[in-house]
Symmetry: C2
Subunit: 235 residues, 2 copies
Amino acid sequence: MNLVLLEPSNFIAETRARLQGRALQHIREVHRANTGDTLRVGVVNGRIGRGTIESIHSDAVEMSIKLDTDPPSPLPLRLILALPRPKVLNRTIAAAASMGIREIDLINAWRVEKAYWESPKLSEENLREQSILGLEQAGDTVLPTIRLHKLFTPFVREQLPPTLEGKRALLAHPYASEEMPRQVRDSIVLAVGPEGGFIDREVETFREMGFSEVRLGPRILRVETALAALVGRLF
Amino acid sequence: MNLVLLEPSNFIAETRARLQGRALQHIREVHRANTGDTLRVGVVNGRIGRGTIESIHSDAVEMSIKLDTDPPSPLPLRLILALPRPKVLNRTIAAAASMGIREIDLINAWRVEKAYWESPKLSEENLREQSILGLEQAGDTVLPTIRLHKLFTPFVREQLPPTLEGKRALLAHPYASEEMPRQVRDSIVLAVGPEGGFIDREVETFREMGFSEVRLGPRILRVETALAALVGRLF
């Protein structure tokens, strides 16, 4: 936790916040912070600054808050991601949020197992919690917007295309002949497939909607590793 | 598992291999493979090809093996990594192996907790197992060489410098003014610090040994995310 993220509900006065639960535990056990210590803080979807501990007990910590910095700029990237296995989902959402990805569409695909859509990890609450873990790691405050699309075709053929204007649409695909571009200046829409990849018919649909297939390298990476490598390369 | 990695001991004849344990379980439960099916296989530190299942039972699978491809080229990167927390170590080793990193030096630093060096995860056996998981994910066969250096100064001041000739030595550092280079042609030695970073004195030591400090971006990433982003950007 490189930043303590405050919710509006944590403020008990304009410049004073009170925290309990996970954040309190982390401040006590990992930071081992005492009265008078300062910590990096930020407000969800807001500014960043310092919190000075006014009191800290087993039930709550109170800090006086001074916010003076804007959060880092978001990446100009919208991620279209085939829904990963529940075990992988949490890590992937946290990693994406930590890298500054602010728009994530989780979509269905032939190789996404139906059962994944029933996972409690897809609850709004869990997706928000994973995003917050990523932001607290990164030192950022802006939550990604995460949308779920249980039907591939209506999303890729109808909802997605009107949003692509002026953007560069890329499909990460292990067998593409074109290399993933580097240091792009455009706003990017990046589609990443499931384990085993999108099937040919899905690749064809993306192609018809204006996506270019690009490959990353000779190795098949786990989704969260691939995503970080793609972001490192694109921006 | 995108490739089944065979040890020399798995060969019961020149072109026939017999597997039990974790690989067998994966082939039965995830691939749900039957007699006659073919799987991608490779030999540890050797070539890649196809295995055709000749028999499969609850106690063993036997495959006829045809090897016809070299593994992907390794990355021209030696990683000098401050020993991560044991929980993070496994993921990081697997991710590094999956990306084609073939030389990893785990080193001490001021912010590495002493207890990390006592972790059973540092056993040769576990480091090899994590590497194999990474290689099987990536479709690669070549194990990284992983070395442990419990003393920072003798390693960075004495052992490391003679090996740096002709290479570009970079230190990933959040507060550096210079940006991480892109698409390098050189062979790279990359040092990555612990959570919280190397302390000033350590940064100074790296600098004296010829390392340049470079930054990745405005966000602080987890070590395995940072590593993938660095690799994506450098190569």
